[in-house]
């Protein structure tokens, strides 16, 4: 049983989401958007948080590569 590392998928998805949101937050935020979110540039901040999450998971996966147990004894029929 060889499973791929879930941490890298989390890092990929949130890295992508984070970057997109940061770009929206910096470049494409209208007054109306700001008003809706009580003056908070929520896309920017949420984007930054997601990039941080992605970096944490990527670092974890790099530093401790062992993820799932690779060779387990198959269970016998009970």
């Amino acid at each position: 049983m060889r499973l791929f590392d879930l941490r890298l998928i989390i890092a990929f998805l949130f890295g992508l989401y984070g970057v997109v949101l940061v770009v929206i937050g910096f470049g494409f935020t209208t007054e109306e958007d700001l008003k809706k979110a009580e003056g908070v540039n929520i896309n920017l901040w949420a984007g930054v948080a997601m990039v941080v999450l992605a970096v944490v998971f990527a670092a974890w996966a790099t530093l401790r590569p062992q993820f799932a147990d690779t060779d387990k004894e198959p269970l016998k029929e009970l």
Binding site: M1, R2, L3, F4, L6, I9, I10, F12, L13, F14, L16, Y17, V20, L21, I24, G25, F28, T29, T30, E32, D33, L34, K36, A37, E38, V40, I42, N43, W45, A46, A49, M50, L53, Q66, F67, A68, D69, T70, K72, P74, L75, L78
Partner: protein, 563 residues
Amino acid sequence: MSILAEADLRLDAGPIDYALLLVYFVVVLGIGVMARRSVSSSLDFLLSGRSLPAWVTGLAFISANLGALELMGMTANGAQYGLATVHYYWIGAIPAMVFLGLVMMPFYYGSKVRSVPEFMRRRFGKPAHLVNAISFAVAQILIAGINLFALAVIIDALLGWPLPVSICVAALVVLAYTTLGGLSAAIYNEVLQFFVIVAALAPLTIIGLIKVGGWQGLVEKVTDKENLSAWPATELTGIDHPVWSVIGLVFGLGFVLSFGYWTTNFAEVQRAMSAKSMSAAKRTPIIGAYPKALIPAIIIIPGIIAAVIVPEMAQLKAGDTSSGVVYNNVLPLLMRDLLPNGILGIAITGLLASFMAGVAANVSSFNTVFTYDLWQDYVKKDRPDEYYLRIGRLATVGACVLAIGTAFIAAALGGSNIMDYIQALFSFFNAPLFATFILGMFWKRMTPTAGWVGLLAGTFTAIFIYVISEPSFGIELLELPGQGASFLGAGLAFVVDIVVSFGVSLVTRPKPDSELGGLVYSLTPKEDRAHSTTGEDAGWYRSPALLGGGVLALTTVLYFIFG
């Protein structure tokens, strides 16, 4: 249809929101394709080869429960009952999750059974097994259909796709990744979904809190001040007397209902069974308990906020139903009012992901019970493993097709009522099941006959209480609005099951001790219940007992602060 009623909930989703949603679906299907390569036996497919680390199974454990019912229902409860809703988490989940990890998991994982019904078969034999396996399989298909229906309703409301199209598209996506990757794909997506849900709800809560002027502002603006204290929760329980209300909460919700649900529902326990070691299996529900204790902050608080800042919700709270909005609409309304494009796409993704993971959890636990407990035990025995792997895949297809069917039935019968009935039905089985399990695990004298007789007696008791307290049956001997009736029903079902099982055991013949090793406390050597403390299981921070004590302490502290 009452989940989303007639109110206009269409969100102003732009191209970027759709793009973010699309990315998620691509990743989900990609997980299915990648997980397929790791599947070479039925156990890989149905139990992830028992190879997953505890943090993965732990997050999946709570995510499997974080579906449509939970998200819509608990935000709605937040708006309607306020802080009392925390009881569903702090009393209604945490103690049971710790108990499952520390007390029951040694038997589930240690006996190497592949499902909860299989434990039933080895402890009590076939009659009890068959009752449990069939009722579980049927309930999962019904609930999968209802989850699918709720998912389709939200797609319809948010994005404007017609109901039948959304039902089929959603079912196809779930089918695709669960048939390809089996439980691993389902669990991976549950973990992913957990983070997306947090990413969706946290900004909503933060902006909402800023809008009402922080926690202090919220406390001042809430009109119904009873919504700000968790005790004695008389509105929630429907029991007027405060002392009885608290007793109902602690014993009904906290003990019988929640222990029944969390410790015997295979859709949950399956996540722990797929962990890579006894230590990881014990830690699974306990690790899940930490986010479970904290998540009310981003589920219940938005509900309370919505009752203050969403105009339609405030009207409803004041008794004016003219806007057509119902409490279940809290999340879409808040998203509409607070989130700009971009983060709105993440929030829509989070909602859909959560609903979809709910369906996947139903389907992936159904196919295991169907394959191992029904097909292998009663239809075709002793075939090579590839055969059962194929059956597992076919069962997944069958489950999705049946769920589409039950989704249309739910649509025809009209949404949220049927959801309540199914939940009630399911609770008929859970409370007695817990009684039977707990007695069977700790009393070796309990006999196979007592196993199924006790179960039936308990279930009939719960049904009886339900019938005499449900107004729509017209024989309302007990007047208990709110949750009171189900607390009482579950409590009595538990007691009746214990008493009947005890009585029947005294006059029937028990199984010989030699057949009960690993299944009963007194006949399982201590070392078989213990977990390893070396290698991947080493370190004080991986001690299940310490982690369990930690989360109980955390919950107690939270009760002191917010209770």
